[in-house]
């Protein structure tokens, strides 16, 4: 089973890397860019077949390691 975990910065947390990317996109002539926030994607391959159990386990993975919940949110997608 394939799962995707998306980790993003919480609203209100300053993202200097996103700001730099935003500036660079503006410099390339993309005038429509309002703002950019940088995040992370983890593709996790799981051996089980129970989707509900997998989701619960992925939530634990996010809480314990993949995300720092002081500054980040996470979303889980299971294929």
């Amino acid at each position: 089973m394939k799962a995707r975990v998306i980790v993003t910065l919480k609203n209100g947390v300053l993202d200097p890397q996103g700001k730099a990317i935003e500036g660079a996109l503006g410099g390339l002539g993309f005038g429509d860019v309002g703002s950019v926030r940088q995040g992370k994607v983890f593709d996790v391959e799981l051996t089980g077949s129970d989707k509900a159990a997998a989701k619960a386990e992925l939530e634990q993975m996010c809480e314990k390691l993949l995300a720092n919940t002081v500054i980040e949110n996470y979303a889980i997608e299971i294929a």
């Binding site: 947390v13 300053l14 200097p16 890397q17 314990k64 390691l65 993949l66 720092n68 002081v70 500054i71």
Partner: protein, 221 residues
């Protein structure tokens, strides 16, 4: 005073810390590899600077899940003094021993320079030898030192007197909120700071300003 230094793959300021502790306490620190399960019986455990696990995932994130951390948390809960410097500060926040998080420097660049520090309070075991409000020199060398905490947490640590050191004289090198350079836990036995006091402890370093922190700990032990 008996001390121990935890070493992770990628730690690189452990030897500086060893030298400082031995010079100032007169006793050789014990080195503890991250895979060990128990810390020796000591008065102070130091989590040193460096780039544990190459800063993969987030600075300090992987090291904070090392086997030895379980006992570090237990020791901290029992009141043993814990000092985290630079990557050590990042590891302590990732492990939940200190509030907040250390994010990419606001200027996006690695900073390696000297800053000025203000000792906000000397009513701690880490700062008793400083004068309250004393401004001192200290080197910094980091990429992820931008301290962040949400508004409630920030109010709490400010109100509780947990902010021990602030960058002074417009030398904040990383955009840290409220110029925070070092904080401690509510109980006052765990301190994390981005600057490196262990690198300003003898005339060869160009100053002795960092000694006061270790002398404070020595007095408290």
């Amino acid at each position: 005073m008996k001390t121990a230094v935890i070493v992770f793959p990628g730690s690189n300021r452990d030897r500086d810390m060893f030298h400082a502790l031995e010079l100032i306490t007169g006793t050789r620190p014990q080195s503890v590899w991250h895979t060990e399960s128990t810390l020796p019986d000591v008065d102070l455990v130091v989590v040193p600077g460096g780039f544990s696990y190459g800063d993969y995932l987030r600075s300090g994130a992987i090291a904070a899940r090392s086997p030895i951390l379980k006992d570090l948390v237990a020791k901290a809960d029992s009141g043993v003094a814990v000092l985290g410097v630079c990557n050590g500060f990042q590891i302590l926040t990732e492990a939940g021993l200190l509030p907040g998080a250390l994010m990419r420097n606001a200027g996006l660049t690695f900073v390696c320079r000297e800053v000025l520090m203000e000792t906000v309070t000397n009513a701690t075991r880490f700062s008793s030898k400083f004068e309250k409000g004393q401004v001192w020199r200290c080197p910094v060398a980091h990429h992820d030192g931008n301290y962040f905490a949400d508004a409630d947490t920030l109010k709490q640590i400010e109100d509780n007197g947990q902010v021990v050191f602030r960058y002074a004289g417009d030398t904040n090198p990383n955009g840290s909120i409220n110029d925070i350079a070092g904080i401690m836990n509510a109980k006052g036995n765990v301190l994390g700071m981005m600057p490196h006091p262990e690198n300003l402890i003898e005339p060869l370093n160009g100053g002795l300003d960092g000694r006061l922190l270790f002398e404070s700990l020595l007095e408290a032990a």
